[in-house]
Symmetry: C2
Subunit: 387 residues, 2 copies
């Protein structure tokens, strides 16, 4: 009978309704047809199975549905359609678990580098990594590049464009060449390999040209907003090019802002983004300006790193108001296999980006026994180049 | 100072907080930086302007923000990022209005055919059009094709694949060739031009091959789920190929299911989908199994047809439990410039798809003075082919 995709939904409904809703999900997601159009063969071979219904707190029920793996047709768009297509239109149904069989996972390449490959590129182990964002939009290319260079001189691990830095191809080339050069010069001085990552936001037909320019410069990574560019468009880019990819959460909050609906962020930003080839998944952390529950944030980080077939583990990247005084707590909660993204708090911490970077790194190192080795320019999955 | 993108957000907050939140939106969406990093020039040239704050019912405020049009970089991904990027991560902020300046709209081709082109292809005017979906998945290709042919013989206007019909390239070719032939044979008998529209759900790298096969067969349209394939990937496909496109709402409900958050569906399924080149936008109608408010559904239909620069008006396509007895009411509410999608209710209405189609059409015609002319095989925007 083949392998099964097992999906658990939290349904906000009482005992009286939940059986009907469970059956509705199983039918809607596979055949979307009235019961009288479903014959015995279609029921057996196509319609989802209601595996279990169990009460969970807050008046909800956990409904587990089994879908035959071949219904996903071995591809990400149809997998999304199958597990959360029409259900997204219904109220109070949240996808909270997704177990994907090995044969389906084997269809996905996943992150090109993942956490281990990024560590090898950097040569930094056993502590959370530190990243920042070049901002604000409106500063000159030269000033943004100078910030990038200062961050690298201060020992920072990864500096990326703000997701608001978007321009046409020529302006993009100019801007990222300057930031790349500034970081490369700093790396020559420090002997380290701080990574500069441009933001990729362009019309679909131009994405390859932008990525090729990034790779031609010798850069290794791109930042994308998967829910803006399209999850499968991102998967395609990361399977076509030897880049690592940072996912920005822009435009995606509607999927998990309402706790009774949508997709649990650990599934979306963890499991599903890794299917799309994401190496580093930015998540809005608790304690910042967005107010997500701490438990949920840590669960996202865990999912980014969790075993998933033979896909490489990713690096979770908590962001969104990472203040200096909270670094010890956050480091304890997220653990060493994390990339902290400190934007405004770092840039505004002192008048020098370099000394702010040093201060944040010192704060991180207090709790970890950092281990540094020579950066490796050619870890598996990324065949060439280097900052 | 250039043209302005004007966006209105409904913010669930009282008078005490709304000014702070309005400023936060204006900053977050443009520079995402602490106030102390914003100098006078960046404030003037980049940061959004809070234009007005007005109370609206239910304890909410309408906050109008003006963004300089050039911040959208003339492209759909950055427009989405600008008007609803990070805001999506915050609670209780809903984008409800979007006024786009002419110079930005002029960057978009919009629907290739729109309502007028589809009418010309069909030769049917002055009544709602009738469509159905081939289902359930699991029926043989031959049976699905037979249903398509019966629907065309019964006088139906458009028959599309169910969005669950997804297969590999060879299986896709076989299946849609059969349905195409069945509809073409029926059209020869009726002298009409019922349109058959395959569902397009494939890995990003294969989408062109699938579309080219559809066009090579002589078919004119595709169905896509823009939030699964990516909005800009869909825009690219529709600008590269002379197809009309039906948008399926799969996976997108999280954007409007919660009335305090997300994007008003008339903006997403109307305005934004038309920027992505969508001709026919399926919306989940009130009164069916999804329970959306009638006023909201009609507002989506209005937005699909409303003036939008020089973009062609689209056809709204109410769906989701369109029962026979409700057709007169729905026809009155949505008006003649509509495509009704009746799936399960039509297929299960009688034992013959042909006579069910005739019955639904009769029901529609009761209230309208249908006008038919010879189908035009070559309306503007779609250079060749024909069923």
């Amino acid at each position: 009978m083949g392998e099964i995709i097992s999906a658990v939904y939290h349904v906000t409904a009482g005992q009286a309704d939940v059986e009907r809703i469970a059956r509705w999900i199983a039918v809607e997601q596979t055949v979307e047809a009235p019961e009288k159009l479903i014959d015995a063969r279609i029921e057996d071979e196509i319609v989802g199975s209601v595996v279990s219904i169990d009460p969970v707190p807050d008046g909800r029920h956990a409904v587990r549905i089994g879908y035959r793996a071949e219904l996903a047709a071995g591809q990400l768009p149809q997998l999304l359609n199958l597990v959360y297509g029409n259900v997204s239109l219904f109220e109070s149904v949240r996808l909270v678990e997704l177990d994907l069989p090995a044969e389906l996972l084997a269809r996905f390449r996943g992150p090109n580098l993942g956490g281990p490959g990024l560590r090898a590129l950097l040569g930094v182990y056993d502590r959370p990594l530190l990243s920042t964002a070049l901002k604000p939009r409106g500063r000159s290319d030269e000033k943004l590049a100078a910030m990038a260079g200062e961050f690298a001189l201060g020992g920072g691990d990864l500096v990326k464009d703000d997701h608001n830095l978007v321009d046409g191809y020529e302006a993009f080339r100019r801007r990222i060449a300057l930031s790349h050069e500034a970081v490369a010069r700093a790396n020559e001085r420090t002997g380290r390999n701080c990574l500069y990552v441009p933001n990729l936001c362009a019309p679909a037909e131009h994405l390859p040209r932008f990525v090729e320019y990034v790779l031609d410069l010798g850069l290794r990574g791109i930042m994308v907003a998967p829910l803006i560019l399209g999850l499968d468009t991102v998967r395609h880019l990361t399977s076509r090019y030897p880049v690592f990819a940072i996912a920005h959460p822009s435009f995606g909050g509607t999927f998990y802002r309402d706790p009774r609906h949508g997709i649990a962020p650990r599934l979306l930003l963890g499991t599903i983004y890794r299917l799309a080839g994401i190496d580093i998944s930015i998540l809005v952390s608790h304690g910042g300006r967005f107010n997500y529950p701490a438990e949920e944030c840590v669960s996202v980080a865990d999912a980014v790193r969790a075993p998933l077939g033979s896909l490489r583990p990713g690096l979770p990247c908590p962001a969104g108001g990472m203040r200096f005084e909270r670094i010890p707590d956050l480091a304890r909660q997220y653990g060493a296999e994390t990339l902290f993204l400190v934007g405004g708090a770092l840039l505004g911490h002192t008048t020098s980006v370099r000394s702010s970077t040093e201060a944040f790194l010192e704060r991180i190192r207090e709790q970890f026994n950092e281990r540094c080795v020579a950066p490796q320019t050619d870890p598996s999955g990324v065949p060439q180049g280097g900052e």
